[in-house]
């Protein structure tokens, strides 16, 4: 074991399944989907779209005056971080640990603000765009606002790696603590790109799910023969990470331990995934953790529910784990919370931490007719107990061919 051990000591959510960790994990294990068919956009060009959206209201948890300078993603990041600091017992008079580092993932930043500024330009034919536009659009807004709101004075860094953003952020926070650069980190991700301009762009990629005959909530179907694509979600998740020494000194009971991080690039195609790249990320992560393949009991898959993507991940897992793959449970919780893009890795890593803590495997919802190409134990329908679960992975594989795998162990 190199360097310091790294523990997860708090979790904070703003998710399609709410903010309460226990209620969220319970809903996920029951296979409850938060996906709905909602009307999006303007009367002229709007559409009914499948989304895992959040009825988000920060209330008095963010000062009114501060809110003016925060895009939706940043507001969600601040509330999720508040929840995580409180969960970890690290909030003192509204402030977090001053010496902490902030490591946040975000794909698009203030997407809705960008849309508003273009509306002003193209619809009102005006160059007079609001002065807050630039600082609200930037993808680093969530990290900066977290630092400002809670008085965090260590580095505040943003990782924009498309769908792998917040897994990379957590991985880098893990390394920062393990290597002794800091002993406490706020790590996670935020994404709020459910404005109709962004949704239209996603639809153009051709990866969005169609409404399933069983209902809107059953439309995201990773590993299933009937899968038609992904469903966009939004939200933020923050993990409080602390060195073993710091957690022990504070006398806190960790939720889980992070023991490895692996990353790789496909060097292949912009949107077409590669078995080779994903396999190398998984192998790198296991090597980093110093664990053999047969130590792993569960994988929270990247699997978004696209016809092309899911079998590639299954093949990568088979190659990385060899015969041991047959004994690993692998599920995609995106079937229920959708794809939060830059926030997905953090939400799924947090769910993985809860799975280890509760020794209970989250399911792949809507998996009723498994694709023969996805022939591993994909935990269909509802979750199940896993009394021997010790080690789990969380995969995030991004457009652009950036792959990230986190390894967690039961604490």
């Amino acid at each position: 074991m190199r360097g310091h051990r790294v523990f997860v000591t708090g979790l904070g959510f703003v998710s399609p399944h709410g903010e309460d960790p226990s209620a969220l994990f319970e809903s996920i294990c029951l296979g409850d989907s938060a996906i709905r068919l909602v009307r999006s956009g303007t009367p002229e060009v709007g559409a009914d779209v499948l989304l895992a959206a959040i009825d988000f209201e920060p209330g008095d948890r963010i000062n009114k005056a501060d809110r003016v300078f925060m895009a939706r993603a940043a507001q969600m990041a601040v509330v999720a971080t508040r929840n995580a600091l409180e969960d970890a017992g690290l909030m003192t008079e509204g402030r977090g640990p001053e010496e902490a580092g902030v490591f946040m993932g975000c794909g698009l930043g203030g997407a809705e603000i960008l849309q508003q500024s273009y509306s002003t330009y193209f619809e009102r034919h005006s160059r007079r765009v609001r002065p807050t536009t630039v600082p609200l659009i930037m993808a680093s807004g969530p990290a900066s606002q977290v630092a400002m709101c809670f008085g965090i004075r260590g580095p505040a860094h943003t990782y924009s790696v498309a769908c792998a953003s917040s897994s990379v952020a957590i991985g880098e926070a893990f390394r920062s603590i393990r290597d002794g650069y800091t002993d406490v980190a706020i790590a996670g991700g935020a994404e709020a790109m459910l404005n109709d301009g962004s949704i239209a762009a996603w639809q153009a990629v051709g990866v969005i799910a169609k409404v399933h005959a069983d209902g809107a909530e059953a439309s995201c179907r990773p590993f299933d023969s009937d899968r038609t694509g992904l469903v966009l979600g939004e939200g933020a998740t923050t993990l409080m990470l602390e060195s073993e020494e710091r957690a022990t000194e504070r006398g806190v009971e960790p939720i889980a331990e992070i023991v490895g991080f692996g990353a790789s690039s496909d060097a292949h195609k912009l949107t077409e995934p590669s078995v080779d790249g994903q396999e190398r990320a998984i192998r790198n992560a296991l090597e980093d953790a110093g664990l053999p393949a047969d130590a792993v009991g569960y994988i929270n898959a990247h699997a978004t529910g696209t016809p092309a993507g899911d079998p590639v991940e299954i093949e990568a897992v088979k190659r990385a784990f060899g015969a041991a793959a047959q004994d690993i449970a692998i599920s995609s919780t995106k079937s229920m919370h959708g794809h939060l893009v830059g926030a997905s890795g953090a939400l799924e890593c947090a769910i993985t931490a809860l799975a280890l803590h509760e020794r209970r495997l989250p399911p792949t919802a809507n998996l009723t007719s498994p694709d023969p190409a996805c022939d591993l134990d994909c935990v269909p329908g509802v979750g199940r107990d896993a009394p021997d679960l010790e080690v789990a992975l969380s995969n995030s594989f991004a457009f652009g061919g950036s792959n990230a795998t986190l390894v967690l162990r039961r604490a």
Partner: protein, 79 residues
């Protein structure tokens, strides 16, 4: 709503300025607004009254001066 009443309302509701601190003689600096916030406030006023405040006219200090400028620009728009 008069320009002054609108300014007082927005300062209180959107920028969280204490009601008792708001008076015609109060300057925006005294009320704790930084330069970015002042420009943002100007956009709120422009949207509300359908005017554009020319950059060279944005020299007001107090709320009364800001309100007077808005009155003048609204009147000019009407002619």
């Amino acid at each position: 709503m008069s320009p002054y009443a609108f300014l007082a309302e927005v300062l209180s509701e959107k920028y969280d300025v204490a009601r008792e601190a708001i008076s015609p003689e109060a300057t925006l600096t005294e009320l704790g607004l930084d330069s970015l916030t002042v420009v943002e406030l100007l956009f709120d006023v422009e949207d509300e009254f359908g005017i554009e405040v020319p950059e060279e006219r944005a020299t007001f200090q107090t709320l009364a001066e800001a309100a007077a400028l808005v009155d003048e620009l609204v009147a000019a728009k009407g002619t």
